[in-house]
C-alpha cells in the first residue's frame, strides 16, 4: 500500500537522502582518484623510504587493486565505519574526526542557534517595518555582515578584542595547561568561545535576516494578511499568527540548503581562532595534504549537511499542514 501523508513524505525524503549520500560517497572516491601522483608517495614524502616499504604500504591501503576493486573495498570499509587512515596522523580518519566533533558541535550549535533566533527576529521586524529607518538599518547592517568573509571578521575581532584590548584569549578552546576542572573549565571554555561564536553569529545573522525579511515581505503581500486585517486582528497577532508562521516556512527550507554554505564559516573561524574542531582539521588536512583525512572530513560535512537537510525537511513537513496530511508538495 502506498504510504500517504507525512510518513510517505518522510520516507521519500529519507530515500532521497540515502541516494544523495551514496552519490557523495562516489564523488568523494572519484575526486581523490583524480589526484596527480602516487598517494603513497605523498604519504611518505621522505625519499629514503624504500620501494619495498612503499609496496607494503600500497597494499596496506589497498591501492594495488584496480579502480573498481578499490571502490568496492572503499564501500565495504565505509560500511564498517572505516574512512581510511590519515596520512598525517596515522590514525583511523573516523577516530581523528570523532575527536573533533564535540568541539565543533559546541561552537556551531551555539552560534547557529543564536544566529537563527536573532536573524529571524530581526528579519521579521525588518520585513514588518519595511521601508522604515529601522528596516534600512537592519538591512544594511545585515548585508554588511553578510559580505564580510568569516575569516576577515574573525581576524578583525581578534585584532581588536584579543590583541589590542586583551579582553579575550588569542584562540584555542581553553587555557592550555590550566588544570581547570568542572565549572571553572566550562567558564574558561565559554570565555574562549566568545569571539569565535560572535564571528559565526555575525556572519550567519545576515543570511537569516535577509531570508526572513524577504520571506516576510512576500508573505505580507499575501491575501490572507489582508483577510487577517479585515478581521480586525491586532497587528501583533497578525505578525505572529499569520505573517511569521508563513514566512518561516521558506526560511526553514533555506536553512537546510544554507547548511551546505554554513560549513564555510566554521572552517574559517576555527582556523583563525585555532579552535580544535573539524573546520580546523580541514585546514590542517589541506596544509598537510592529508587526502584521506580531507576525504573523510568532506564526507562528514557532506553527510552532515544531507542529514541536517533531511531533519529540516521533516520539520518542514511537520509544520506545513499541506505536507502533513499528504497533499501537494
Amino acid at each position: 500500500m502506498p504510504l500517504k501523508g507525512f510518513a510517505g513524505f518522510a520516507t521519500r525524503k529519507a530515500l532521497a537522502a540515502v541516494t544523495t549520500i551514496f552519490a557523495i560517497i562516489c564523488l568523494n572516491f572519484l575526486i581523490f582518484r583524480l589526484l596527480p601522483g602516487d598517494p603513497i608517495r605523498m604519504m611518505f614524502r621522505d625519499p629514503r623510504v624504500s620501494a619495498e616499504q612503499l609496496q607494503l604500504m600500497t597494499e596496506k591501503f589497498g591501492l594495488d587493486k584496480p579502480l573498481w576493486g578499490q571502490f568496492l573495498a572503499y564501500l565495504q570499509a565505509l560500511f564498517q565505519g572505516d574512512l581510511g587512515i590519515s596520512f598525517w596522523q596515522k590514525r583511523a580518519v573516523l577516530e581523528v574526526i570523532a575527536d573533533r566533533i564535540p568541539q565543533t558541535l559546541l561552537l556551531v550549535v551555539t552560534a547557529l542557534t543564536i544566529a537563527i533566533i536573532l536573524g529571524i527576529l530581526l528579519g521579521a521586524i525588518s520585513g514588518w517595518k519595511s521601508g522604515t529607518r529601522l528596516d534600512t538599518f537592519i538591512l544594511t547592517a545585515s548585508l554588511s555582515m553578510y559580505s564580510i568573509p568569516a575569516f576577515s571578521l574573525g581576524i578583525i575581532l581578534m585584532l581588536i578584542f584579543a590583541f589590542y584590548l586583551s579582553i579575550f584569549p588569542l584562540g584555542g578552546i581553553s587555557t592550555p595547561a590550566s588544570g581547570f576542572t568542572g565549572l571553572g573549565y566550562w567558564r574558561d571554555v565559554l570565555w574562549h568561545m566568545f569571539l569565535p561564536t560572535i564571528s559565526i553569529v555575525f556572519w550567519y545573522i545576515g543570511e537569516y535576516v535577509l531570508l526572513t525579511r524577504s520571506s516576510m515581505l512576500d508573505t505580507l503581500d499575501q491575501d490572507y494578511i489582508t483577510t487577517a486585517r479585515a478581521k480586525g486582528l491586532k497587528e501583533f497577532a497578525i505578525l505572529r499568527n499569520h505573517a511569521l508562521r508563513n514566512a518561516l516556512l521558506p526560511v526553514v527550507t533555506a536553512t537546510g540548503i544554507n547548511l551546505a554554505f554554513a560549513v564555510a564559516g566554521i572552517i574559517e573561524v576555527e582556523t583563525v581562532f585555532s579552535w580544535p574542531g573539524i573546520g580546523r582539521l580541514v585546514y590542517d588536512a589541506v596544509m598537510k595534504r592529508d587526502y584521506p583525512l580531507l576525504q573523510g572530513t568532506f564526507l562528514v560535512f557532506a553527510v552532515a549537511v544531507v542529514l541536517a537537510n533531511l531533519v529540516v525537511d521533516l520539520i518542514y513537513g511537520f509544520i506545513d499542514p499541506r505536507i502533513k496530511v499528504g497533499k501537494a508538495e
Binding site: 596527480p36 601522483g37 602516487d38 608517495r41 605523498m42 611518505f44 614524502r45 621522505d46 625519499p47 629514503r48 623510504v49 624504500s50 616499504q53 604500504m57 598525517w88 596522523q89 596515522k90 590514525r91 581523528v96 575527536d99 581578534m158 584579543a162 590583541f163 586583551s166 588569542l170 584562540g171 584555542g172 578552546i173 581553553s174 592550555p176 595547561a177 582556523t271 583563525v272 581562532f273 585555532s274 580544535p276 580546523r280 590542517d284 596544509m287 595534504r289
Partner: protein
C-alpha cells in the same frame, strides 16, 4: 670510542678497592706492607683512573642533564609557543614525532636515547641511557646501559627495551627508517640485562655512533603492539626521560612535569607546556604579554624580530640556521641548464646578499655547501660565486646565449622556477631571484605548486616536469644523508638526486667516505665531495636563514643555543638547562 668498559664495571672496581683499603687488617710484615702498599698504589691508581672517569662522566652528565648545582633554583613553568599547524595531534610513534616541529621536540623530553648529540659548538657525542659502547667495524655495536634508569611507571630500563625499540621502531613508521639503525632481522641481541648488541646492514664510519635519535620505548607497554606499533595510542607516553607527560590535548597543548626520579636528577623546571596558537601573530602577542616564554622550533620571522629587540625582560637570540636553501637544476631535461656555464651564470647572477637583506632582513648567511661552515668537515676553499652581473653576462655571452631579438632576454634561456605554495620565505626568495636573473637576460617564470606535486616533480627529474626548483633541507651536524642528493642514478641514487647529477668521482668518494673510520681521511673525502658539487653545480647552495628566537628573560635564564636556535630536533638542551633566575 671513548671507553671500552662500562661505567658500571669501573665503579665496581673502585668500590671494591675502597672497601679493601678500609676493611683490611693492619699489616704485619714489611713485605706484607710493601706488598700491600703496592696493591694499594695499584688500586689507588685504578681508583684515580676510575674517579677521573667518574668525574668526567659526571661532568658530562651534569652538563647533559642539568645536574643540580647548588645555587640553581628549581621550579617554574616554561610556556613554549607553537603555531597550530606545528601542533602535535597524537602521541603515536609516527613520523609526526620525527617531522613535526612540536613532535621532534616533544619526545626527547619524555624518552631517553642511547646517546645524545651535545650542544654547540662541538655537538659532542654524550652518553645517555648507554654509558658506553663499542664497535670494531662499524657494523656490530655493543651498548652498555646504565642500571639506574627507570621508566615513568617505575619499571627499570633494560637491554630488552632497547632491543625491542631498535627492532621494532623502524617498522612503526617508515619515517623512522634511518640508515644508521637498519638492522638485519634477528641481529639485535640482548647480551645481559644491561648490554645489547646489534648488527647493522651497512657499516657506519662516522664519528657518530649508531642509533642516534631513537627514543627508547618501554617494552612492557609496547609489546602487545609489536605488529603495528601505530595501533598503540600511547596516551600516557611512558618513557624514561627527564620529563613526564602530565596532560596531552591534541592540537592544543602538551603539558609536561619534571620527572622527580630521573636517573640524572630532575630537571630544573617544574613544568613545560607546549601550547599552540592560531597564527604567528597570536604567538607573538602571547610572547609579549608573557603568556608564552619562548617560541618553539621556528622562532619568529625576521620582520617580527625587531619588535622584540629592546623590550624589557626580553632577549632576541639569533642563531645560525639549521636549514639550507639551494637551487636544484634538472640536468636530465634537455635545456641549456645542462650547460655548466649557464648554471654558473645563474649563480653569479643571484645577489644573495640582497635576497638575504630583502627576504630575511639580513637574518641569514650565504652558504656554499651542504656542510655548515662551523662544522669541521666544511671545505673552506669552495668557489663562492659572489654576485657579479658582468661576469655572469660575460659567461653567457661567451657561451653563445645572446639576445637576438633585443627584448632584454637571451634566447632559449627561459626557465621555470618551481616552488611550493606553502613556503613563504622561499617564495619571497624565488620572487627576488626571478627579478635578479632578468638582469642577466634569463627569463624565469615562477611556477607555484602544492607541496605534494612539488615533491612529486622534483624527486622524479626524469619526468621532466621541472627545470629549476628552489629546495630546502635541514642537514644538521649529523648530515651524511644529505649526500644522497648527489649520488648518481647509476650508483643507486634515485629519488634523492633531484638534479639527476651523475659524477662517478663523487659516487666513489661518497662510498669511501661512508665506510671510512678514520676521521681525517673522512674529512678529505668530504672536502673532495664538496668541491665536486660546488664546481659542477648540480645544486646551487644559496644561503642559510638564521633562527631568531625572542625569549622572555624575566623569569628564566639558561637558554641553550645551537645551530637552528634554542629548540630544535638537535637541541632539547634548553629544556634541560633552563632554570629560574
Amino acid at each position: 670510542m671513548r671507553t671500552k668498559k662500562g661505567l658500571l664495571s669501573l665503579l665496581v672496581v673502585a668500590l671494591l678497592a675502597l672497601s679493601l683499603v678500609t676493611a683490611c687488617p693492619a699489616p704485619t710484615t714489611t713485605e706484607e706492607v710493601e706488598q700491600l702498599n703496592a696493591t694499594i698504589a695499584d688500586l689507588e691508581a685504578q681508583l684515580a683512573a676510575a674517579n677521573a672517569t667518574i668525574v668526567d662522566l659526571e661532568a658530562q652528565l651534569a652538563a647533559a642533564m642539568g645536574e643540580p648545582a647548588e645555587e640553581i633554583a628549581y621550579g617554574g613553568r616554561l610556556d613554549v609557543g607553537f603555531t597550530a599547524g606545528e601542533g602535535l595531534e597524537t602521541l603515536l610513534c609516527d613520523s609526526n614525532w620525527q617531522y613535526t616541529e612540536m613532535g621532534c621536540v616533544f619526545w626527547p623530553l619524555v624518552y631517553d636515547q642511547l646517546w645524545i648529540m651535545g650542544p654547540a659548538p662541538d655537538y659532542e657525542v654524550l652518553p645517555m641511557l648507554a654509558t658506553s659502547w663499542e664497535t670494531e667495524d662499524g657494523i656490530t655495536w655493543t651498548f652498555y646501559l646504565r642500571e639506574d634508569a627507570v621508566f615513568h611507571d617505575g619499571v627499570p630500563v633494560t637491554a630488552e627495551d632497547v632491543a625491542f625499540t631498535i627492532e621494532n621502531l623502524p617498522n612503526a613508521d617508515p619515517a623512522w627508517a634511518f640508515t644508521d639503525i637498519i638492522t638485519e632481522p634477528g641481529s639485535v641481541k640482548v647480551i645481559d640485562d644491561y648490554t645489547v648488541e646489534f648488527t647493522l646492514e651497512q657499516s657506519i664510519g662516522t664519528r657518530w655512533p649508531a642509533a642516534y635519535w631513537a627514543p627508547i620505548l618501554p617494552k612492557h607497554i609496547w609489546e602487545p603492539y609489536t605488529d603495528d606499533m601505530l595501533s598503540f595510542s600511547n596516551d600516557e607516553a611512558i618513557g624514561s626521560g627527564p620529563y613526564k607527560l602530565k596532560e596531552f590535548k591534541a592540537a592544543q597543548y602538551v603539558w609536561f612535569e619534571a620527572n622527580e626520579d630521573y636517573w640524572g636528577g630532575r630537571p630544573y623546571l617544574d613544568e613545560v607546556v607546549f601550547r599552540t596558537y592560531g597564527s604567528e601573530d597570536a604567538q607573538y602577542m602571547a610572547l609579549k604579554s608573557g603568556e608564552a616564554d619562548m617560541i618553539g622550533y621556528l622562532g619568529c620571522s625576521a620582520v617580527a624580530a625587531e619588535d622584540f629587540i629592546g623590550l624589557e625582560d626580553m632577549e632576541v637570540i639569533v642563531s645560525p640556521g639549521i636549514g639550507l636553501q639551494w637551487l636544484s637544476f634538472n640536468l636530465y631535461k634537455d635545456t641549456p641548464l645542462q650547460d655548466l656555464e649557464v648554471r654558473k651564470a645563474i649563480m653569479y647572477g643571484i645577489d644573495r646578499d640582497r635576497v638575504i637583506e630583502m627576504a630575511f632582513l639580513g637574518y641569514a648567511q650565504t652558504a656554499d655547501s651542504f656542510i655548515y661552515p662551523e662544522v669541521a668537515e666544511h671545505n673552506p676553499n669552495l668557489p663562492q660565486y659572489a654576485y657579479d652581473v658582468d661576469l655572469a653576462n660575460e659567461i653567457l655571452d661567451n657561451a653563445g646565449y645572446l639576445d637576438s631579438d633585443g627584448d632584454g632576454m637571451r634566447d632559449d634561456l627561459t626557465f621555470e622556477l618551481l616552488a611550493p605554495s606553502d613556503w613563504t620565505d622561499e617564495l619571497k626568495a624565488a620572487t627576488l631571484i626571478k627579478e635578479q636573473l632578468a638582469e642577466i637576460g634569463i627569463d624565469i617564470s615562477l611556477t607555484v605548486l602544492d607541496l605534494d606535486t612539488y615533491y612529486e616533480y622534483i624527486y622524479t627529474p626524469e619526468e621532466e616536469e621541472y627545470e629549476i626548483a628552489i629546495a630546502t633541507e635541514e642537514p644538521g651536524p649529523h648530515g651524511e644523508w644529505m649526500w644522497e642528493f648527489c649520488r648518481s642514478y647509476e650508483a643507486g641514487g634515485e629519488g634523492w638526486n633531484t638534479a639527476y647529477w651523475a659524477n662517478p668521482d663523487f659516487d666513489e668518494a661518497l662510498d669511501a667516505m661512508l665506510a671510512e673510520v678514520d676521521v681525517e681521511q673522512r674529512t678529505a673525502y668530504l672536502y673532495e665531495m664538496q668541491m665536486l658539487m660546488a664546481e659542477d653545480l648540480p645544486y646551487g647552495v644559496l644561503y642559510r636563514p638564521d633562527l631568531i628566537n625572542p625569549v622572555r628573560t624575566d623569569e628564566f635564564e639558561g637558554y641553550v643555543e645551537t645551530m637552528g636556535g634554542i629548540s630544535t630536533w638537535i637541541n632539547p638542551w634548553t629544556y634541560f638547562e633552563l632554570h629560574l633566575k
